[in-house]
């Protein structure tokens, strides 16, 4: 064996150089980002238009994936910045209703196969180009038919025959009658599919560069991004923009969007002036008392309800007994849950896939009553729960509904009061949904054992219209090919509503569905929660959109 002594001095020298280099590199990296992170507000002029001034820092949901070609990306953008930079053919009013935006109107042909969207004239992109029906056709064709597209719009490819511009109109031809085409083009929670990109800009810069420096028609235009730390936006003040755009001229000149993930960080930022608007949890309201930060809430942003797993699917399920279903619903004191668990920032709901403010909400239908003594009687009559436990499965995603595990525990406590032992299992959301639609929870499969009887507590957007996931839980049309129910009437009612082109009639059908569900106690409607925001004293007024859980309508902010 040969043995070699290292020249220690030589090696020491090299090591020192290496170490110093590493430390310097680390420091340089830190300092470089530090300097690039500083944002300053400059004075502004706007060619005779109203002159926005000042700046505000807004907390969005996330900034991951910013600058990527959104149509080829599976991550939807954070709506806080996306809906501020871009517009949709169909927008949302402050009340959360679909209203004309980049399209002034839309109509469907008599055969219900061709939708025509009248494109608003004179709308400017942030680079000065005029938005046309051609831009809409380019955007939606790319999103739907590009083989590399991963946009949400490819869900509709199978129904779509063609998308093209015809003068000032966008024509969408479908293979079968589809009532929800305007919803594809609409600003709604979680969707980016309908935003309109500039064809000329994309072709000139290429998709990569155009995505990193996005150009839309919104009230604010993109200035810069500091990695995933922050985005800088500034008011769009081109004097040639059209009147519709001028009507949405911001009052605040510069907006910085950041996306901290921890709730405690958001609260700390609000308290110290590090943020001017941030979504917060209702449980954090108390911590903002006696500070300069006020709380603004918009109703019905998210909705929570419970499903009886196995009902109508498995003949052995105890949930097939309507007495059990009624008892498990009326054992819950919804008003107390809203008051105590959500600090009054929630209301009891009577409907099964949305709360008050959702389209089709049956205003004449009262939430299930709280009647623990009747619940006890019903359970005794049904001989349910004398042995073993009831299981509530849920997950932790404040975006779907805040504090679902806490809500589950509170419900378990109420079940305890009527003599039922209930446990709460908090699972990873992805795994849980796979198991739910895979039918692997106890009692879901036909004729399987049902111990423990399981309730599935979930939250979702308090949707404002019929979209495909409305029916997924109830019918076999989802990609799992399995529903949480096996009810021909349920499926028929929802599919009929989905196929209805008249909005009023569709709403009436949805309300009818809710009444029918309530009469049969097929589900446990719970609460519709507000979106709660902390707003600094610097912000004088703001009109966020009802039902949007993220900060919206930033152009309405005033200092």
């Amino acid at each position: 064996m040969n043995e070699h002594n290292i020249d220690r001095r030589q090696f020491l020298g090299r090591s020192l150089v290496f170490s110093a280099g590493a430390v310097l590199l680390g420091s340089a990296v830190g300092c470089t980002t530090a300097s690039s992170n500083s944002n300053t507000t400059k004075s502004n002029t706007a060619n005779g238009q109203s002159v926005p001034t000042g700046s505000a820092i807004v907390v969005g949901e996330f900034l991951q994936g910013f600058g990527e070609d959104i149509m080829l990306s599976l991550t939807p953008p954070d709506k806080t910045y996306w809906d501020t930079i871009f517009d949709y053919p169909v927008g949302l009013s402050v009340e959360g209703r679909y209203v004309p935006a980049l399209a002034t109107s839309w109509e469907v042909s008599k055969d219900h196969l061709t939708w025509a969207f009248e494109v608003r004239e004179g709308v400017l992109f942030h680079n000065g180009d005029t938005m046309t029906a051609g831009d809409m056709a380019f955007t939606f064709n790319r999103a739907m038919f590009n083989p590399r597209s991963q946009d949400s719009l490819i869900s509709y490819k199978a129904f779509t025959d063609s998308i093209k511009a015809d003068g000032n109109k966008l024509l969408i031809k479908t293979k079968v009658p589809v009532a929800e085409v305007p919803v594809w083009m609409a600003q709604s929670d979680g969707s980016d599919g309908g935003t309109v990109l500039s064809e000329k800009y994309f072709n000139k810069l290429g998709a990569t560069a155009a995505s990193r420096s996005p150009v839309g028609t919104g009230a604010y235009k993109f200035v810069s991004a500091n990695g995933e730390q922050s985005l800088q936006l500034t008011a769009f003040l081109d004097p040639n923009r059209n009147d519709w755009q001028k009507a949405r001229t911001p009052h605040i000149k510069d907006i910085t969007i950041i996306a901290p993930q921890q709730e405690s960080t958001k609260v700390a930022l609000l308290k110290t002036g590090g943020a001017d608007i941030s979504p917060i949890l209702s449980e954090d309201i108390a911590t903002l008392q006696n500070t300069q930060t006020r709380v603004v809430s918009t109703p019905a942003a998210t909705y929570a309800g419970m499903y009886y797993l196995g009902v109508t699917l498995n003949p052995k399920s105890p949930f097939n007994d309507v007495r059990v279903r009624e008892a498990l619903s009326i054992a819950i004191d919804r008003a107390s849950l809203a008051r105590v668990v959500y600090n009054g920032k929630a209301v009891p709901s009577a409907a099964f896939y949305g709360g008050p403010h959702s389209l089709g909400y049956p205003s004449d239908l009262a939430p299930p009553p709280f009647n623990p003594s009747r619940a006890k009687q019903l359970l005794a009559a049904a001989n349910f729960g004398k042995s073993g436990t009831l299981q509530i499965v849920t997950y932790d995603n404040d975006g779907d509904f805040p504090g679902l595990p806490n809500l589950g525990e509170a419900i378990a406590g109420m079940y305890d009061n009527v003599g039922l032992k209930a446990s709460v299992r908090v699972l990873d959301g992805t795994t849980m949904f796979q198991d739910i639609y895979g039918g692997t929870f106890p009692g879901m499969a036909h004729n399987s054992a049902v111990e423990p009887p399981t309730l599935f507590l979930r939250g979702f957007d308090n949707i404002v219209d019929m979209i495909p996931d409305t029916v997924t839980g109830y019918t076999n049309t989802g990609r799992f090919g399995k529903a949480l129910y096996n009810s021909a009437e349920m499926q028929q009612r929802l599919e009929a509503a989905e196929a209805e082109f008249d909005q009023d009639k569709q709403n009436a059908m949805l309300a009818g569905f809710d009444r029918w569900m309530a009469a049969n106690w097929y589900q446990v409607p719970l609460l519709a929660a507000d979106a709660v925001f902390g707003v600094s004293s610097k912000i004088k007024s703001w009109q966020p959109i009802i039902s949007q859980p993220q900060p919206s309508n930033l152009w309405t902010l005033t200092l």
């Binding site: 070699h4 080829l72 991550t75 991963q150 405690s264 930022l269 989802g478």
Partner: protein, 306 residues
């Protein structure tokens, strides 16, 4: 030296290959990522298109061969969720993490080692008790909780430091201290015990007998001889920082590798997860190699043997 380095590099490549294979297999064991990536109502045609786009329509073996081939060319593929090249994603997130780790490592060493030395020199004195108290505090306080406490005191109440975000040097202080606290505790205890052993040795007594100044004895003789376990521990600390700052990054909105890895796990973004795991493994291997080489410099009795 070249042969030694060559051997270690080959060993490193084998280790990385093993880690890369392991993460590939474990990821696939979690199931089909399109189930997470797509909504429940996505039609089969959409699922097929997305699988094609992501290369998930091929067999696992074919995916593995492509993966290894790309890895050889330092190509980690594109993120499933954003489409961004993984190398770009890693670079974007590694820089904040690296800068935080270097800073926190500096804090650990600058505080931990002197405190440990002082504790050893003044055994059973107030200095020793205080040092051990600091160590106990650092080890028993979870970094997540310490971060929140630091934010409340120095960010919200005193308003001395920014509560979140990566900006100037002041934004590094709280996350670095929170990240470094357990490491400081470890360094204090290890330095103290190693120094006590060294101070009790014959060569130190000899140095005193020779009349050498105390500072020289402590630094040049005792500390140097006590530093082998410290170097080992410090190496592990640095490598651990690189992969283990998830909670700190989340609280301080740091957008580093930890937060990125957590997001990748939740969204089943296989390429990003693979890239992150391989990067952290490579960091561990590099730091360990550096530590091994450092032994030779610090302790002349250690030789590189071929």
């Amino acid at each position: 030296v070249i042969r030694y380095m060559g051997g270690r590099l080959l060993q490193a490549v084998a280790n990385i290959l093993f880690v890369a294979t392991l993460i590939f297999v474990l990821e696939r064991a979690t199931g089909d990522p399109t189930e997470t990536l797509l909504p429940a109502y996505a039609p089969p045609s959409e699922i097929a298109q997305v699988k094609r786009n992501l290369g998930l329509n091929k067999s696992e073996l074919s995916q593995y061969v492509t993966y290894l081939n790309n890895l050889l060319h330092l190509n980690f593929g594109n993120s499933f969720t954003t489409g961004q090249p993984v190398t770009q994603v890693l670079a974007q997130h590694f820089i904040p993490t690296l800068s935080l780790c270097v800073f926190a490592f500096g804090v650990s060493v600058v505080i931990g080692i002197p405190l440990g030395v002082l504790a050893a020199l003044h055994q059973r004195s107030i200095v020793d008790t205080t040092s051990r108290g600091i160590a106990l505090f650092g080890q028993s306080m979870p970094p997540f909780y310490m971060s929140i406490v630091l934010v409340l005191i120095f960010g919200v109440t005193l308003r001395w430091l920014p509560v979140a975000g990566r900006g100037g040097l002041d934004s590094y202080i709280m996350p670095s201290v929170a990240l470094a606290a357990p490491a400081i505790a470890g360094l204090v205890r290890l330095t103290r015990s190693s120094m006590l052993d060294a101070l009790d040795s014959d060569f130190v007594r000899m140095a005193y007998a020779k009349g050498l100044p105390r500072g020289v004895i402590v630094v040049k003789h005792a500390l140097r001889n006590a530093s082998i376990p410290l170097i080992t521990y410090a190496g592990l600390v640095l490598a651990g920082f690189l992969g283990g700052a998830v909670a700190i990054e989340s609280i301080f909105n740091w957008q580093g590798i930890g937060q990125m890895t957590l997001d990748a796990v939740q969204s089943r973004d296989f390429p990003v997860l693979q890239g992150a795991v391989i990067l952290v493994a490579a960091c561990f291997i590099a730091v360990n190699l550096f530590v091994d080489l450092l032994y030779v410099i610090v302790d002349p009795r250690i030789k590189i043997v071929k």
